[in-house]
């Protein structure tokens, strides 16, 4: 046997990154600026989000945190060309995953082409209400996925286990159309991730999860993936329940000993038809506008100025595919 003295490296300059507990130390070591509002520098651009259908949606849910609707044109569709430019930039920035949201992404007529471009580079996740998912589209998407090295995840929003429960939030007819679209996705070979905003006390989550599994089994979906999200008190949801209290903001003190990796803006940005925002939650907040280009937006720290930041702080990375799955506050 050859003599084997493996040498062991010192930690890289600046230490190990988040996930090994070093972000905790960073929070206490001056990386957070002592400005009136704490700010968070980007650690790595792991997730690139696209507001691909702007604020345009075929539904008008009463809990929509950015109040999307058929007639909400405050953010317009992104073109395939606009997405392609950001995809080009994303290679240099070492993006790890691509997410598409709206509005309803499939309101964008170029969506399938956009996904084809994306899947040539990396994994894609679409946040959809699945009500615009005829069999033909589900099959076309399955072909795109099959042609790619990467996974294509369909994240389907459904807010109740019954027609009554869901449609009270998502509007009449939404349940049936979503169930039909989900069945088409399952039939085409997808394992959609059912995403539901928790509208019940945390203690009842197990019961609802069981009901969801039964509902999905009825569609022939036997490997169900279900993600329960905590409510965001913004947009229509703020009118439905309550808005945030003035005191529900992130302060410097709160960041001591806190792992910044729990905040999406630590590792993500949102590209829209007009500029780049800190994260998909703060589509419209001026404080979260990070610049015109991805490179500019990646270089600037995010001010934790909004009360929605408080939910991130409490609930962790709810937006990613494997964040909170029970809707529980920590």
């Amino acid at each position: 046997m050859a003599r084997v003295d493996l040498d062991v490296l010192d930690p890289p300059p600046g230490g190990w990154r988040a996930g090994e507990g070093k972000a905790r130390e960073a929070a206490g070591s001056g990386e957070i600026s002592p400005a009136p509002v704490p700010t968070v520098p980007l650690e790595a651009l792991d997730e690139l989000w696209f507001q691909v259908s702007g604020t345009v949606c075929n539904l008008r849910c009463n809990h929509c945190f950015i109040s999307c609707a058929p007639d909400n044109h405050s953010f317009w569709f992104m073109t395939r060309e606009q997405v392609r430019e950001a995809l080009d930039d994303s290679v240099e920035l070492a993006v790890k995953a691509y997410y598409f949201t709206g509005g309803e992404p499939f309101m964008n007529r170029e969506m399938e082409g956009i996904l084809a471009d994306t899947l040539a580079l990396g994994p894609a996740t679409v946040l959809t209400n699945a009500t615009l998912m005829p069999r033909r589209r589900a099959r076309a998407l399955a072909r795109l996925a099959a042609d790619s090295l990467y996974t294509l995840e369909m994240r389907v929003s459904l807010d109740g286990v019954t027609r009554e429960m869901n449609d009270a939030i998502r509007g009449e007819g939404a349940f049936d159309r979503c169930i039909e679209g989900t069945a088409h996705l399952v039939e085409a070979g997808f394992l959609p991730i059912l995403t539901c905003m928790r509208s019940w006390p945390e203690s009842e989550t197990d019961r609802y999860l069981a009901d969801f599994r039964e509902l999905l089994a009825g569609l022939g979906y036997h490997q169900p993936r279900i993600k329960i999200l905590p409510p965001l008190l913004m947009g229509e949801e703020a009118k439905r329940t309550r808005g945030y209290e003035e005191t529900e903001r992130i302060t410097h003190e709160m960041l001591h000993g806190f792992d910044l990796g729990n905040l999406l803006c630590r590792r993500a940005r949102l590209v829209t038809a007009r500029g780049v925002q800190a994260c998909p939650i703060l589509l419209e907040a001026p404080s979260a506008r990070m610049g015109d280009t991805l490179a500019e937006a990646a270089s600037k720290p995010v001010p934790l100025a909004e009360s929605a930041c408080f939910t991130c702080y409490l609930s962790g990375a709810i937006c990613s595919n494997t964040g909170s799955t029970t809707g529980a506050d920590r």
Binding site: M1, D7, V8, W16, G189
Partner: protein, 292 residues
């Protein structure tokens, strides 16, 4: 890749005992090997580990390397530790080893699904209780990464990724440009990792490779009880590698697990090759290849 033959460590000696000392310690010259067998997560499957060690030696490996996660899932964690120590196999620190060594609350696998957490808790509590303090101390000395030269190639061996011990690098969620950036930044030709439990590899530009060795502890969710390791060598400045299936006494392991009171779900995975727990972290493509 210029071959730098003639340099490097003298041949014919056993791996240095200094490997078991806590790092970091540096050498002017990287150790040089010809044929490396890389073992991913062992998950206390000491029977598969023994079979893999014998197989890798038969195939002429001059370095056997473990990429971390000695515990979880299987029975009697001390057996795995004893086997690795007796064979003087260097180990890169995995999230499980880090947790066990430091007595943390959980295994740092990052599960959020309640069912995944339920099973993760059972195996973690069992492993923590059954690992001797001597082995825990030994695990505390595992380095976060190891570098060596495989012929003319610079290899960086980690558990998850160079930036994070518990980062999942799945085949269908890891872009080639992302891997390329990571490998360039590390100044390596080959990045070697595990943590996901499913082996795969990809060339990421001229001469550069990422190799995920998979796991020795449990089969890769493919309906077959064999487990896998990776064998790597250099030829003409290029990486040559293959994944090697390992057959072992599955029934004996299953019996041991039952005797230790480990969950039926774990035993089913060992026997059938299908994952039954910790499914939440699987990407859609990988998961749809499995049964659950």
């Amino acid at each position: 890749m210029g071959a730098r033959e003639g340099e490097g460590a003298p041949r014919g000696t056993r791996p240095a005992a200094s490997l078991w000392r806590p790092g970091p310690f540096a050498h002017a010259e990287r150790p040089r090997v010809r044929r490396v067998a890389a073992f991913g997560g062992i998950y206390s499957n000491h029977l598969a580990l023994e079979a893999a060690i014998a197989d890798a030696r038969d195939r002429g490996a001059d370095l056997l390397l473990c990429l971390g996660d000695l515990g979880a899932f299987g029975p009697s964690p001390d057996r795995t530790a004893e086997t690795l120590r007796a064979a003087e196999i260097p180990v890169v620190r995995g999230n499980y080893d880090d947790s066990i060594a430091r007595g943390l609350d959980d295994c740092q696998c990052g599960y959020t699904d309640p069912k995944d957490n339920h099973y993760a808790r059972i195996s973690y509590d069992y492993t923590l209780a059954k690992t001797s303090s001597e082995h825990r101390e030994w695990m505390g000395g595992f380095p976060g990464e190891l570098r060596f030269r495989l012929g003319a190639l610079e290899v960086l061996a980690v558990h998850g990724s160079p930036r994070r011990m518990n980062e999942f690098l799945w085949e269908t969620t890891t872009p080639t440009h992302f891997l390329g950036g990571m490998i360039r930044q590390a100044g390596a030709d080959v990045l070697l990792g595990t943590h996901t439990g499913i082996h795969w590899s990809r060339q990421v530009g001229s001469g550069a490779w990422y190799v995920n060795a998979g796991a020795l502890g449990r089969p890769p969710n493919d309906g077959n009880p064999e487990v896998w390791y990776a064998m790597l060598e250099e030829e003409g400045g290029e990486l040559k590698h293959e994944f090697v299936p390992v057959s072992y006494a599955v029934d004996d392991l299953a019996d041991e697990m039952a005797d230790e009171g480990l969950p039926e779900e774990f035993i089913e995975t060992i026997r059938t090759g299908w994952w039954t727990t910790c499914l939440e972290v699987l990407p859609g493509k990988e998961r749809s290849r499995g049964r659950y």
